[in-house]
Amino acid sequence: MLYLFLALPFVGAILPALAGNNRNLGASLAALAPLAALTGLLLNAGPIFDGGALVASVPWAPTLGLNLTVRIDGLAFLFAVLVLGIGLLIILYARYYLSARDSMPRFYALLLFFMGAMLGIVVSGNLLMMLVFWELTSIASFLLIGFWSHREDARKGARMALAITGGGGLCLLAGILLLGNIVGSYELDVVLAAGDVIRAHPLYAPMLILVLLGAFTKSAQFPFHFWLPHAMAAPTPVSAYLHSATMVKAGVFLLARLFPALSGTELWTLVVSSAGMATLLIGAYVALFKHDLKGLLAYSTLSHLGLITLLFGFNTPLAAVAAVFHIINHATFKASLFMAAGIIDHETGTRDMRRINGLWKYMPHTAVLAMVAAAAMAGVPLMNGFLSKEMFFAESLHLGLSGIAAWLPPLVATLAGVFSVAYSVRFIHDVFFNGEPIDLPKYPPHEPPRYMKIPVEILVAVCVLVGVAPAWIIAPLLDAAAGATLNGNLPDYSLAVWHGLNLPLMMSVIALVGGLLIYAFRHRLFSLHERLPEVDEKRVFEGLVRMSQGLAWRVTRVFENDSLQDYLRAMLMALVLALFAGLWLSPVDWRLPQMLPVDIPTVALGALLVVAAGVTALWHRKRVFALLLLSVVGLVVSVTFIRFSAPDLALTQLVVEVVTVLLLMLALFFLPDSAALESTARGRVRDAVLSSLVGIGVGAMAWLMMTTDVPRLADWFMAQSVPGGGGTNVVNVILVDFRGFDTFGEITVLAIAALGIYALLRELYLKAPELNGRGRPWAMETHPLILEVVSRPLLSLSLLVSLYIFLRGHNLPGGGFIAGLVTSVALLMQYVANGVSWVQSRIRSHYLAVTGIGLSVALVTGMGSWFFDRPFLTSAHGYLTLPVIGKMHLASALLFDIGVYLTVVGATLLMLSRLGRVSTLDRKRGGH
């Protein structure tokens, strides 16, 4: 039931959309859910008034400590009634306030969404769950404040409100996590009972500050007060709702809710009361000088929130009772005042009090309502505001402080009272009297539709009834709410209208008289105020945001500058650090290992390698030349492999070199044959240092790698190659069997690369240059005759060679990979010698398909072992006797090797043939 109660507003948010353009139906549908919720709540309120609570709980995320606990005690009940009751009145009011251009379903949906979130805060029995709803109100209020999204002030006000309350929400999150950690639970019952543990905990101070930051931002306490006046860009029903009974009350609700757990320390008193006091004074003072009706009410809201906060800061049970009482009273008179302001705005077209004058004549009914509400705000006797203000004055006198500190609270209270009377008088006198209206956009103003006034009338009636007969009307509710706030330790207090002639009454009189006096001398004060330097917090805030944005942009641009060289440099610097940190932080033994004897060919090769690499780097701007030198490097590496008895690697390296150089040649054809000098001398020195450091680091590591001797897997591979893998060529057995899965991955890489290049070049046609870099024309004879003649017979020969290499692979240097490359080179030669079209017309097979077949063969071979209940890629081998050839050793790895072969051939040719076709020249001539 309780969950249904909580879910009702959210469900109800969808309903108004059903009404379409029917405004009455829309409003009625919107009212349905809150009405049902309110009725349900009131019908079940019995136990609450006996000091109990309605509780239901189901676990949501027990690991996190998050349970869905609904807990409605007196305090929650009071707030729920305010949220739902005033919400209902707002729904009725908004029906007449919104114009035909405003989307009614959207408005009501957001309003109900907000209502649900607010209801969630107050009935949550788990702090994390409350936080969920807390943040939801921030989101909902953002959307509501920005409801008139075409207006810049609405958008900016919404963002500012979200930034402040959302930031506070983050603090609150941290604070509540700390709190839950201290207590060991987020359940409200547990937390409220653990006050002593909490206050004694070393993390109490940071936790308290974080929680208070959350409460203060939400309740717009100084210095976070500035978002609230700018939130007035919202439609007035929203302001009336958010700033009387809901949004801003969430902060003081939190203070009330956690009062038994957190209060009672000097830190609490100090922080809460000073924030409250500052807000109380600033709000009351600034309100007087606002010409905008809603602006005045906004600052007055600040001031009253400050008052409530200050009461909690007093840290006494009686003050807490007064605070709860003032929460009720403020909600009623402030909501009605906002609605009245909205009516005036609606009927006159402006909210500027310098123009709206003398409305008494035009709308006496509204005037009466506004006057009563304003009297409540000012704290005039027989109004509800008077009672709570009286209690506030009384509490300010009974703090038990000494010296100047004892005088400060009553002084501040009285002063704020004075201003509060003054702005209330101003609200009434300026608007309804004070001569004739000046230049109103809508003239003459008249009374609003009958039903628009009903919500105001109801609220005003509450103000008066509570003020006249508090003991009958409000006492039970206040008892329940205040009792819950204090966790059952309700002090004795009196709700009488008349307490006799005492100091608080004197203070009230001073406030009333002082307020009237100030209003009488307002013109002088206004001109004084105007001479004060004006601080526009909005501009400061926005300027700050914009400045930090600019800074963020500049910092980001320094590092993210779209320069590949810089990115690489950063990475290489990190590499240098990594290498040298490795050498620095662990012991290094630079001993010499047992060396092979030095022979001349090795030394010569080494020297050639160094020279070729060095010259490549030095002359890298001459592209073709650099490429040739690079191939020298590659050749030397291949020879080195042979020198150290790795013929497989040498073969592979050799063929890879051939293919790479061909590929690069094709690409270089489209580029100028020398690159421009782009780096400065200093840059080159820096890069030389950097690359040397990388070289030294990697070299040092290589040295260590060669001088370290540990048992390695290689020994096992050597031993197992024949018995386990059925091949004497260990390299091939490793490739297709021991680590066949790696090869499987690598041929996939090759296939993807081919596909990628194919895709990249598919639509690319470059104009082939007719002249080389020095202005000489390229030879027109693209396919020299001799090459053509020699290459054709060579094809069959080289294919035979590749077959041979393939077959012997498992036992002697060779294998699918090398064979594939040899085949590719053989076919490539035909391309070079005869042209793309000549070859293409003779080779019908599609290279992409060849690649695919290769991959499938590898895949299917691998999966074949599943039928023998062996893992993927398990190899079997045996001996087979064939006629003519004789006894042959066959391994199923051979099949896999065929896959490798086909993939290599397909992929390599796919890449190179595509690249060869990029040139428009070739297309134009149609080959040879």
Partner: protein, 499 residues
């Protein structure tokens, strides 16, 4: 078939891709169905694998029937499963979105997409360091070609940066592998882990250096400072579905650090805890850089791309701090942030599909508004990304905060997490209000219910993550437990003859 489950997440996308190679001539519809079917099968495989893991615990799969450490072994535990599911969910959304038309730009899209998945899945499953390198190559080359999907100058340029940096990264990876092999004589991760516990002398120097190099390589993948600057432009240049899929790519780097550093540089031996301080520092710097980037972004693509950087910082800092609880929270956050950024990339793409190439730039106030449907979706994505309730981001953040609170570095982490959240809040509220509110005129043309449905589906998973957080957190906790139980891992891979 259950015996072969661990290899199937690699083979299924591979087989799908190969089939699609042959299907180049088939109609686009057929190819789409085939492509989707591949994902469905993969989902079924993961579901079965999840059942097996729940019943029998982590599974090792010895390829070629060679016992470890001699052959290659795949290890499927709850950590792998968690990442495989995250990948799968993201890939499904990206693929379905792409099937609305973006896949038609290039006939190879579906092929490459599945190859990409093969690489990612393989990286999450392998128990062999060299094999990890191979899968890194698979996913690198596939991502490079996918990045080029759709063509254009910006893409080609970004792709060039991407591939060049990553090729240097691959070289460093190889050097590091050489150093590890030289010092420990093996490449099997369990075996490495075992031998690392007793490493000393010169081998220790090499192993230490290799650790730092690996950190660098994985840092590049995860886009950590100082190798983060390539990411925003690259991701912003990629086409929508591709960028969305790429949201998982940096997490491969995170995973690699997590797995390798737990196994190799975890608790035992002279190199225990290697690089934790550096990683934490670098992660916080990355978080800062990401926050600045998010704050300075002026279009939704860049905002989303910087989100990826930012989340890499959050994740890596958690990895550096370690501990079962925090790692569980980190994994939950990982799934959340991957899906949320994926959604953001798709949203940016959708806005640009409808309003033109620069339509997601909120400085352009005179453009038409993207309309209420996308507006609501953006709100959902933003709420998730910023970390507000009731979506997954809030709970992920709360869990990270909670799980890290008693660590020595927790104050830094809290400050960074909460500070970045505030910046995200500012950035997203500005983005949303400028894109959807300030552009008050006519809505963009080209409203498409299907696109909204796809995006809403992805958005709904963020809600599911939040609602089902208890079972999910338990799964993530299991993943963290599997990861941290190094002894069980070694036992599983090396069996009785361990030593």
């Amino acid at each position: 078939m259950n015996a072969h489950l661990p290899v199937l997440p690699v083979l299924v996308p591979m087989a799908t891709a190969v089939l699609l190679i042959f299907g180049q001539a088939w109609s686009r519809g057929t190819r789409r169905w085939l492509s989707m079917a591949g994902l469905v099968v993969q989902g079924a495989v993961l579901a079965t694998l999840g059942g097996v893991l729940a019943g029998q615990g982590p599974q090792a799969y010895f390829l070629g029937n060679w016992s470890a450490p001699f052959g290659i072994v795949l290890v499927a535990d709850h950590l792998s499963l968690w990442l495989l599911w995250t990948t799968w969910a993201l890939a499904t959304a990206a693929l379905v979105y792409a099937c609305r038309g973006a896949d038609g730009v290039n006939r190879r899209f579906h092929v490459l997409f599945h190859f990409q998945l093969m690489g990612i899945n393989g990286a999450f499953l392998t128990g062999d360091l060299f094999n990890l390198f191979v899968f890194f190559e698979v996913l690198l080359i596939a991502s490079y070609t996918l990045l080029n999907h759709g063509g254009g100058k910006a893409r080609t340029r970004a792709a060039l940066h991407y591939v060049t940096l990553n090729l240097v990264g691959s070289s460093v990876f190889l050097i590091a592998l050489g150093m590890l092999y030289a010092s420990l004589g093996t490449l099997n991760m369990a075996h490495l882990s075992e031998r690392m516990a007793a490493v000393e002398g010169t081998a220790e120097t090499l192993a230490r250096g290799a650790g730092y190099l690996l950190l660098l390589v994985f840092g590049l993948k995860a886009a950590l400072v100082p190798m983060y600057a390539w990411l925003p432009r690259t991701y912003a240049a990629a086409s929508g579905p591709v960028a969305a899929l790429f949201a998982i790519m940096t997490k491969v780097g995170v995973y690699a650090v997590l797995r390798i550093f737990t196994l190799l540089y975890g608790e035992q031996g002279r190199l225990a805890g290697l690089g934790d301080e550096v990683l934490f520092l670098v992660a916080l710097l990355t978080l800062a850089a990401g926050s600045l980037g998010v704050f300075s972004a002026h279009n939704l693509r860049r905002l989303s791309a910087w989100m990826v950087v930012l989340s890499a910082g959050i994740l890596m800092a958690a990895v550096a701090m370690g501990g079962a609880e925090l790692l569980g929270a980190m994994l939950y956050y990982l799934a959340h942030t991957t899906l949320a950024t994926g959604l953001l990339f798709l949203l940016a793409d959708r806005i640009r599909e409808r309003g033109g190439a620069e339509a997601d730039d909120w400085r352009l106030a005179s453009l038409p508004s993207p309309g209420p449907a996308l507006g609501i979706l953006f709100l959902v994505a933003a709420v998730a990304a910023v970390g507000l309730p009731p979506l997954s981001g809030f709970f992920a953040k709360a869990q990270l905060l909670l799980a890290s609170h008693d660590h020595d570095w927790s104050w830094w982490y809290w400050l960074a997490l909460l500070g970045s959240s505030l910046i995200l809040l500012l950035a997203f509220s500005r983005a949303g209000s400028s894109l959807f509110w300030r552009r008050s005129g006519q809505a963009m043309a080209g409203y498409e219910p299907l696109a909204v449905l796809v995006l809403a589906g992805l958005a709904a998973t963020l809600l599911v993550l939040a609602l089902a957080q208890q079972p999910l957190m338990e799964l993530a906790a299991k993943a963290a437990a599997d990861l941290l139980d190094v002894d069980a891992y070694r036992q599983l891979v090396l069996g009785k003859e361990a030593g």
